[in-house]
C-alpha cells in the first residue's frame, strides 16, 4: 500500500508545529495569520502522480454548496470487535491510527480536537466554489479526458435550497462540478418521480445494481430501475463502475417515497456484474461506487471477489489512508464537501499495477473561490435570502450534530419540541448530517434547515406505552451496535429529550439498556407516555395521534430560538455508557 504519507506530512509540517513547540499558539496574532497565509493552494494539492487515469471522489455533501463548519464526533462507539477500526474511530485514536499531527489542518478536518480554536484559525470547510478549483487543477494536470468525478450520493438533500428547489439547485451544482457518475440514498426521499426528473437534469449517470422493481404484478418485476454499471475510457484504460445505492433505504426512510422499489445489499448480483465486466466487457479495472457505509463495504470486500476499488459513502468517515481488505482497496471522503479524494491509477497490461491516494481538504480560506461557483450559489439562494438570513438568536456554546448518543444541536431541537408539545419524551433521529455553529455565532434560519431540511419534517405527538418505548430503544440500539456491520444501518442512536438511560453496548440484543428514566423517574412499562418524534416512523406504533398539532420541525425550532434569543445548551450527555470509559476507544476496546 502506498499512501502518499509524504504529502500529508508536508502539510503537517507546514502547519502542525504546535505539538513540537510545546503547545505554543503559532497561529495567534498577525504572525499567525501570516503563517496560515503561507499554506498555499499548491501545498494542499501536492501529490505524487501515478499512471494516466485519475478518479476524483466526493460523498455525502448533503447539499452544502456553501462552506460550513463541521465538527467530527467526540463519541463514536460501536460493538467491541469494531471500535478503533476504520469507520469506528475518532479523536486521539483517529490521530494515532492515521498519523495526524496535533494543531494541523488535518486535525481540524478529521477530528473534534481543538475544534473551536482551529475553526477560528482555518475557517469554514467545503463549498462548491472551493471544490471546483481542486477539480480544475487535477484536470489541468492530468488532462480533462483522463479524470472522472464520482459521487457516492447523499448529495441532493440537507439544506434549505435543496428542499425548496426539490433538489434542482444541487443537480445544477453537480453539473457545475462535473459529476460523471453517482448513486443515491437521501436522493430517494424526493420520491420516485422527482428522482427520475432530477436524473434527467443531471449530466452524469445515475447507476445502481441493487435497486429493483418489487411489484410482483408489474411487467418489470425484479428488473433493474437504473443501469447497474457504466464503462468509462479514462487515461487509455477501460474502467467499469458498478453502483450500490443505500441498501436500507426503505427501512431508514419512509417507504412511500420508494413504493414498488426494493433495495438491499445484493452482493450475489454484484458478484455477477463484477464477473460480467471482467470476462465479457474486458475492463481493466472494476470500481464499486457505493453508499453502503464504510464498515459494510469492508465486509462486502470479503464477500465479493474481483473488485479493485470501492469508493464508499454514507457513514461520513474521513479516511486519509486507503483500507485494504483482501485485494480490494476501500476509500471514503468524509462528508459535507469537506474533501475531494484523488485516486491515481497506473494500469498496465489490463491490470492496476499501482495507485496513489489522498484526501484533499477543501479549506475555504486557503483555496480561492471560483467566481462561477459563487455566482451559482448566489443564484439559487437569492429567492430565499430574506427568509434564510433571518437571525433567530445566538448560541453560547458550540452547536454540533455528530456523536453516537447526544449532541448539543439535537438537544436544542428536542427542547424546542418538548417546550411546544409538552410531551414527556422527544425522539430526534440520529442522522449524521447537519451543521456546526461556534460559540457566540448567530443562529440563522438557514442553520435550522441545515439540521432539519427533509421532505417529511412533520413532528408527531402521540401515546406510547412504556414497554413499547423500551422495545423501540432496544431495536434502535441493535441497528447501531450490532457486532455484524451488515446488520447495522450506519446511523447514530436516536436522541432523547426528557429521558436518560444507561447502555451496555456489548450486552445481547434486547438487553442493552438499563436505568431508563423519563422525567427523572424510572420508566414504567405499563404507563402511557406522551411522545413527540420526527424523521422516523415511531408514530405508526403510537395511539391518540394529535392530528391538529402537526408542524414542521424547522418551524418549531425557529420559533423556540426566536423566543429564547440566547441558546445555552449543556454539553452533558443524558446517556451513560457502562462498558466504555471514553468516547473514542482504541482497537481492543481500551481507552
Amino acid at each position: 500500500m502506498d499512501i502518499n504519507r509524504r504529502d500529508f506530512l508536508q502539510i503537517a509540517a507546514a502547519l502542525g508545529i504546535l505539538g513540537a513547540t510545546g503547545g505554543a499558539n503559532l497561529f495567534a496574532g498577525e504572525a499567525g495569520k501570516e503563517r496560515i497565509k503561507n499554506l498555499s493552494f499548491s501545498d494542499l494539492m501536492a501529490f505524487e502522480p501515478k499512471g494516466k487515469a485519475t478518479l476524483l471522489h466526493i460523498c455525502d455533501m448533503h447539499a452544502h454548496i456553501k462552506p460550513l463548519y463541521w465538527r467530527e464526533p467526540s463519541t463514536l462507539i460501536s460493538a467491541k470487535n469494531l471500535v478503533g477500526t476504520p469507520g469506528f474511530i475518532c479523536g486521539k485514536t483517529f490521530e494515532e491510527f492515521y498519523g495526524i499531527a496535533p494543531g494541523s489542518l488535518d486535525e481540524y478536518f478529521d477530528t473534534y480536537i481543538n475544534f473551536e480554536t482551529l475553526a477560528r484559525k482555518f475557517g469554514k470547510m467545503g463549498g462548491i466554489a472551493h471544490m471546483k478549483p481542486i477539480i480544475d487543477h487535477v484536470k489541468k494536470e492530468r488532462g480533462e479526458k483522463n479524470v472522472l468525478l464520482l459521487d457516492s450520493g447523499d448529495t441532493w438533500q440537507g439544506t434549505a435550497v435543496a428542499l425548496k428547489t426539490r433538489g434542482e439547485a444541487i443537480v445544477d451544482a453537480q453539473n457545475y462540478l462535473g459529476v460523471d457518475v453517482m448513486v443515491g440514498h437521501w436522493e430517494f426521499t424526493y420520491g420516485k418521480e422527482r428522482v427520475q426528473e432530477l436524473i434527467g437534469m443531471l449530466k452524469g449517470d445515475f447507476i445502481s445494481q441493487n435497486v429493483v422493481d418489487n411489484d410482483p404484478f408489474s411487467d418489470t418485476f425484479e428488473e433493474l430501475i437504473f443501469p447497474p454499471y457504466t464503462i468509462k475510457e479514462v487515461g487509455g484504460a477501460k474502467i467499469g463502475i458498478i453502483g450500490q445505492s443505500f441498501p436500507f433505504t426503505s427501512t431508514a426512510n419512509p417507504k412511500r417515497f420508494t413504493e414498488g422499489w426494493s433495495f438491499g445489499l445484493r452482493h450475489e448480483s454484484l458478484q455477477e456484474y463484477v464477473d460480467t465486466l471482467r470476462k465479457e466487457k474486458k475492463v481493466d479495472c472494476v470500481v464499486v461506487l457505493s453508499h453502503d457505509g464504510f464498515s459494510v463495504d469492508q465486509e462486502l470486500a470479503k464477500k465479493v471477489k474481483g473488485v479493485d476499488f470501492i469508493l464508499s459513502g454514507h457513514t461520513h468517515d474521513p479516511s486519509p489512508k486507503p483500507i485494504v481488505v483482501n485485494d480490494t482497496v476501500i476509500l471514503i471522503a468524509g462528508s459535507h464537501g469537506k474533501f475531494v479524494g484523488r485516486l491515481d491509477l497506473d494500469i498496465q497490461n489490463k491490470k492496476v499495477v499501482d495507485y496513489s491516494f489522498k484526501l484533499i481538504p477543501v479549506a475555504s480560506n486557503i483555496i480561492p473561490a471560483d467566481k462561477a461557483g459563487e455566482a451559482l450559489v448566489e443564484k439559487w439562494y437569492k429567492p430565499y435570502n430574506k427568509e434564510l438570513n433571518e437571525v433567530l438568536g445566538t448560541t453560547k456554546g458550540v452547536l454540533y450534530k455528530r456523536d453516537t448518543f447526544y449532541s448539543t444541536f439535537d438537544a436544542l431541537i428536542g427542547q424546542a419540541i418538548q417546550d411546544e408539545m409538552k410531551s414527556d419524551i422527544v425522539f430526534t433521529p440520529g442522522y449524521r448530517w447537519g451543521t456546526t455553529l461556534l460559540p457566540g455565532d448567530k443562529i440563522l434560519k438557514d442553520n435550522v434547515y441545515e439540521m432539519t431540511a427533509i421532505t417529511y419534517p412533520e413532528v408527531y405527538t402521540f401515546d406510547l406505552k412504556g414497554s413499547v418505548i423500551a422495545n423501540l430503544m432496544e431495536d434502535i440500539a441493535d441497528n447501531v451496535f450490532n457486532a455484524n456491520p451488515l446488520l447495522q444501518q450506519g446511523g447514530d442512536m436516536s436522541r432523547l429529550t426528557g429521558a436518560s438511560y444507561s447502555i451496555k453496548i456489548d450486552a445481547p440484543s434486547g438487553k442493552r439498556i438499563s436505568d431508563f428514566k423519563i422525567g427523572g423517574k424510572l420508566l414504567d412499562p405499563k404507563k402511557t407516555y406522551r411522545v413527540s418524534s420526527w424523521g422516523g416512523n415511531l408514530q405508526n406504533a403510537g395511539e391518540n395521534l394529535d392530528e391538529k398539532h402537526i408542524r414542521p420541525v424547522y418551524d418549531i425550532v425557529s420559533d423556540y430560538i426566536r423566543k429564547k434569543g440566547v441558546i445555552d445548551i449543556s454539553n452533558q450527555s443524558n446517556v451513560k455508557v457502562l462498558d466504555f470509559d471514553c468516547g473514542c476507544p482504541k482497537k481492543g476496546a481500551t481507552c
Binding site: 437521501w186 410482483p216 425484479e222 431508514a252 433495495f263 406505552k465 423501540l472 431495536d475 441497528n479
Partner: protein, 159 residues
C-alpha cells in the same frame, strides 16, 4: 417462458402457500399475542412433521437468498435454488420454507417433479421478528438437506 413470467406464476402459488402464516405487526404488543390454534406449530415440530425424524444436513447444494435486513417484515422475499439434477429417478422432490420463531413455523411447502425442470422456488413470507429462515429440501431418494439464514426485522430508525 420468460423468467419473470415464471416468477410471477410462482408468486401466485406462494400466496396460497403462505396464507396460514400468522400476521404480526412490529411496534405494537403483537409478539405477546401468540396464536393459539390449529396453525400454531414450533420449528422443531414442523421439521419433524416434514422429515419424519430423518436427519437433515446443511448442504452447499441448497442456495437460500434472503435479505440481511427485511425491508418489510410482512413480505420478505425468499428464494431457494437447489443445485441438483431433475431427472426421472433423481430429482428435487420438495422444497419447504420454515421460520424459527413465527407462531406457525411452516411458511411454504412446494412439491416438485422432474417436469419442473429446476429445483427452484421463490416466494414472500411474513416474519414476526428477527429469526432464521430455513429451506428444507427433500430429494427423490428420501434424504433431506437444508440451508438457513438469519433475517433481521426492524422498525428502522437511523438515516
Amino acid at each position: 417462458m420468460k423468467r419473470r413470467n415464471f416468477l410471477k406464476n410462482l408468486c401466485a402459488v406462494s400466496a396460497l402457500a403462505t396464507v396460514a402464516t400468522p400476521s404480526m405487526v412490529m411496534g405494537k404488543d403483537a409478539p405477546k399475542q401468540k396464536p393459539k390454534g390449529v396453525n400454531a406449530m414450533s420449528y422443531d415440530s414442523a421439521l419433524n412433521a416434514i422429515t419424519g425424524g430423518k436427519p437433515v444436513a446443511d448442504s452447499p447444494k441448497v442456495s437460500l437468498t434472503v435479505p440481511e435486513i427485511a425491508e418489510n417484515g410482512a413480505v420478505v422475499p425468499v428464494k431457494v435454488n437447489v443445485d441438483h439434477p431433475m431427472e426421472e429417478n433423481n430429482y428435487v422432490k420438495a422444497i419447504h420454507i420454515l421460520t424459527t420463531k413465527n407462531g406457525n413455523a411452516r411458511a411454504a411447502d412446494v412439491m416438485l417433479t422432474p417436469m419442473n425442470g429446476k429445483g427452484y422456488f421463490a416466494t414472500r413470507i411474513k416474519l414476526g421478528s428477527t429469526q432464521d429462515v430455513v429451506a428444507v429440501v427433500e430429494l427423490s431418494d428420501g434424504t433431506f438437506i437444508k440451508a438457513s439464514k438469519s433475517v433481521k426485522v426492524t422498525i428502522g430508525g437511523c438515516g
